[in-house]
């Protein structure tokens, strides 16, 4: 419960400082909230464990948390794929523009 609260506050603080965009914080906040609710309401956790056929309720918590982490990571992969597609196109356009405009004084090869 303490951990979940800390996670929530930490994510909110990151958003407040603009280190984390709102759109990318949603999944994290959902994760923190869910874990917090489950930690604060063991009866619900026990029900979920029962439905899923898990003997130890604590393991149900892990399963739920794992599900959220997988969702977060998949989301990251999606974002990364989109970003790399975009940076690819940008690099291509930049290279063509640089060739046309004539190189601003620069070495042909930079590294």
């Amino acid at each position: 419960m303490i951990v979940a609260t800390a996670l929530l506050l930490f994510v909110l603080e990151l958003v407040r400082r603009r280190r984390l965009q709102e759109r990318y914080s949603v999944l994290w906040l959902a994760t923190g909230l869910t874990v917090l609710i489950l930690a604060a309401w063991p009866a619900l956790l026990a029900r979920i464990a029962d439905v899923l056929g898990i003997v130890t309720p604590a393991n149900a918590l892990f399963v739920v948390a794992l599900g959220f982490f997988l969702a977060v990571m998949l989301h990251f992969s999606l974002v990364i794929s989109r970003l790399s597609e975009q940076s690819n196109r940008l690099a291509q356009r930049l290279a063509m523009l640089e060739e046309r405009v004539g190189p601003a004084p620069r070495k042909a090869d930079r590294e």
Partner: protein, 252 residues
């Protein structure tokens, strides 16, 4: 080649099409000048070298050899480099684009054959194949297996015999240029590109060519990567078939 030299702005319908040789090069400092000289010696084509963020002087070497050079700001991989070439071909309003590897394995002497094949067959893409006609190329066993698998798969999908879909030595007309400028696969792109083209309604022919061994540098395909290469390409091909085909951009 008996084709006339190409003026800066050939009129449409000129006897020999305006051609751009796209030369993707990644760390080919030692080979690039020879490649450019070879192309010059054999074909009246414009040349653009796409330096894929080499950082080893490849671009400077190509400039010294007199080629037009587009330098990518960082390494994007062969697919994106080639695509940049197609973008340049489209922008420059070329009739034909020919892909020629920057490592010297593609014989410039055969460029004319590819361009002629386009004109004669009416196809949109001509692939220089090592496996039709006379065979001089003897790949290793593992590579033969891979190539055979690709040949089967690609031929089945395209409904025509394509023996060397991994060959990066190919020429395309305006339709191919427009398509590839808009959509080109990223890594290990050759096989996928053939299928993208086929599904966009482009016609593909194979032309027998002889390839040389590399003049310098080393192949991007090491034995370790071969298995990954096969898997990646087969997965990508499967995905391509599940997607709706890429459409040829309007007005091309």
């Amino acid at each position: 080649m008996e084709a006339p030299a190409i003026s800066e702005a050939a009129a449409p319908g000129a006897p020999f099409p305006r051609c751009l040789a796209i030369v993707p090069a990644f760390q080919e400092r030692d080979a690039i000048a020879q490649v450019i000289a070879d192309i010059r010696a054999h074909s009246p084509v414009d040349i653009v070298v796409i330096d894929d963020g080499s950082g080893d002087g490849t671009a400077a070497e190509a400039v010294r050899a007199g080629a037009r050079v587009i330098t990518l700001p960082f390494n994007l991989g062969i697919g994106s480099a080639v695509q940049t070439g197609y973008m340049a071909a489209q922008e420059g309003d070329f009739d034909v684009a020919i892909q020629v590897d920057g490592d010297g394995q593609h014989p410039a002497a055969e460029i004319g054959k590819l361009v002629t094949a386009l004109g004669e067959s009416g196809a949109d893409i001509a692939i220089g194949s090592r496996f039709v006609g006379e065979r001089h190329y003897r790949p290793t066993f593992a590579r033969r297996v891979g190539i055979a698998v690709f040949a089967r798969v690609v031929s089945a999908i395209c409904g025509t015999r394509i023996t060397d879909s991994t060959s990066g030595f190919r020429a395309g007309n305006r339709r191919a240029i427009a398509l590839f400028a808009a959509a080109y696969p990223h890594d290990y792109p050759e096989v996928e590109a053939v299928i993208i083209a086929h599904r966009a309604g482009l016609r593909i022919v194979e032309v027998p060519v002889q390839m040389r061994t590399r003049q310098a540098g080393r192949s991007s395909i090491t034995p370790v990567r071969s298995a990954y290469y096969m898997l990646k390409v087969l997965l990508a091909v499967a995905m391509l078939m599940l997607r709706r085909p890429v459409k040829l951009p309007e007005g091309s």
